[in-house]
């Protein structure tokens, strides 16, 4: 029972966080919010990239090399083919080979 309450609390808080801006801004979007809507997405994607790589330790073996190599591969594939699915699959396969067989 206590656990069910905790799950409900987690769900309600998460839902509130996602809905709050939509409930607070009902009519005209203020220019400041519209501005944030334009500039936040690329900034947040940048933040998420760092967030995913936060546990990489460049000071100890394998010095973050699998992540570095795979990241370069994803960027190169994206620049070359401009197809996210290709870049993501390619980068992930290379990373899996690197951590399972090489490092």
């Amino acid at each position: 029972m206590r656990e069910a309450v905790l799950v409900a609390v987690m769900a309600v808080v998460t839902i509130l966080l996602r809905f709050l801006p939509f409930l607070a801004i009902r009519k005209e979007t203020p220019p400041y919010i519209a501005y944030l809507g334009r500039v936040l997405p690329p900034a947040i994607i940048g933040m998420l990239v760092i967030y995913c790589l936060k546990d990489v330790n460049p000071a100890a073996a394998p010095f973050g090399l699998p992540e570095l190599i795979s990241t370069v591969c994803v960027i190169a594939l994206q620049v070359w083919r401009r197809n996210s699915l290709v870049s993501i699959l390619g980068g992930t396969i290379i990373y899996m080979v690197l951590v399972q067989r090489v490092f």
Partner: protein, 284 residues
């Protein structure tokens, strides 16, 4: 007398001729009118049929596009969801718990934290505060989507509910594939992603650790998803200042606050810097 007779005869003849002519004319006119009407009706019917066909094609196309574009998320979500299901199982919570958490909370990292909250006997207040801290970033996602989801139709509440990191990264540029219904596309991307997450959690809970091959490293698909969308965004925009702000602010906060709690400071710093930069000329 003869003259009179002749006149009468001629009059009769002329009248008959005229009547016949008029009848023929009217018949022709009516026929033409009817033909035109029928043609118009048929054309309208055909147009309607074609529109319906096109809509169906459109929908099929939208479903296809949404499915293909969410494939990378499928890889990541099934694996991460399985990880969550296994963790729950090991903590003593069965498949129904894993299923309902993925259905009702639907927030990846929060659910991982949630396992330790549940098994560690956390209080309601601790749970609420922790959830707020871990998921505060969703405030920022929603703020930047208020405008884009303005006319999102009937599915809007669900689309807001399902705005996870990955769904956000697929939809935040506001672009939808050509020839697709934008709102249906967004709704499908949201729903496909959650279905992967829920399936993963259930699979993990049921299958546990018995997997025939090593999936070590497959979690990189999430990282790759964000790197690809960062690169794609970089290539299509001339204004790199927001992207650089996000990257560098987060790096600085990671160094200062450590990997455990740098996310909230990073978001505040990003918002602060971008707010201060608001006056500058935006390159398009």
């Amino acid at each position: 007398m003869n003259q009179q007779k002749n006149q009468q005869k001629n009059q009769q003849k002329n009248q008959q001729k005229n009547q016949q002519k008029n009848q023929q004319k009217n018949q022709q006119k009516n026929q033409q009118k009817n033909q035109q009407k029928n043609q118009q009706k048929n054309q309208q019917k055909n147009q309607q049929k074609n529109q319906q066909k096109n809509q169906q094609k459109n929908h099929q196309n939208t479903v296809k596009q949404a499915f293909f574009n969410t494939l990378p998320v499928m890889a990541g979500y099934v694996v991460l969801g399985m990880g969550f299901g296994i963790l729950m199982r090991n903590a003593g919570y069965g498949v129904l718990w894993a299923f309902s958490m993925s259905l009702f909370i639907y927030a990846g990292s929060m659910q991982y934290v949630g396992v330790s909250l549940l098994s560690g006997g956390a209080s309601v207040i601790t749970t609420a505060v922790t959830t707020f801290m871990v998921n505060a970033r969703h405030l920022f996602y929603s703020i930047s989507m208020v405008d884009r989801y303005k006319d999102a139709g009937k599915g809007k509440p669900y689309m807001i509910f399902g705005l996870t990191d990955e769904t956000y990264s697929l939809l935040c540029d506001g672009k939808t594939p050509e020839g697709s219904d934008p709102n249906l596309y967004r709704l499908l991307v949201t729903a496909f992603n959650q279905s992967y997450w829920v399936s993963g959690s259930v699979l993990g809970s049921l299958l546990g650790t018995v997997l025939p091959f090593s999936t070590e490293g497959i979690e990189f698909s999430m990282t790759a998803l964000f790197i690809a969308s960062f690169t794609g965004q970089w290539l299509t925009s001339d204004d790199h200042i927001p992207a650089l702000t996000g990257l560098l602010s987060t790096l600085v906060c990671l160094v200062i606050f450590g990997p455990g709690r740098f996310l909230i400071p990073a978001m505040l710093l990003i918002t602060l810097i971008l707010t201060l930069l608001r006056g500058r000329k935006e390159a398009v």
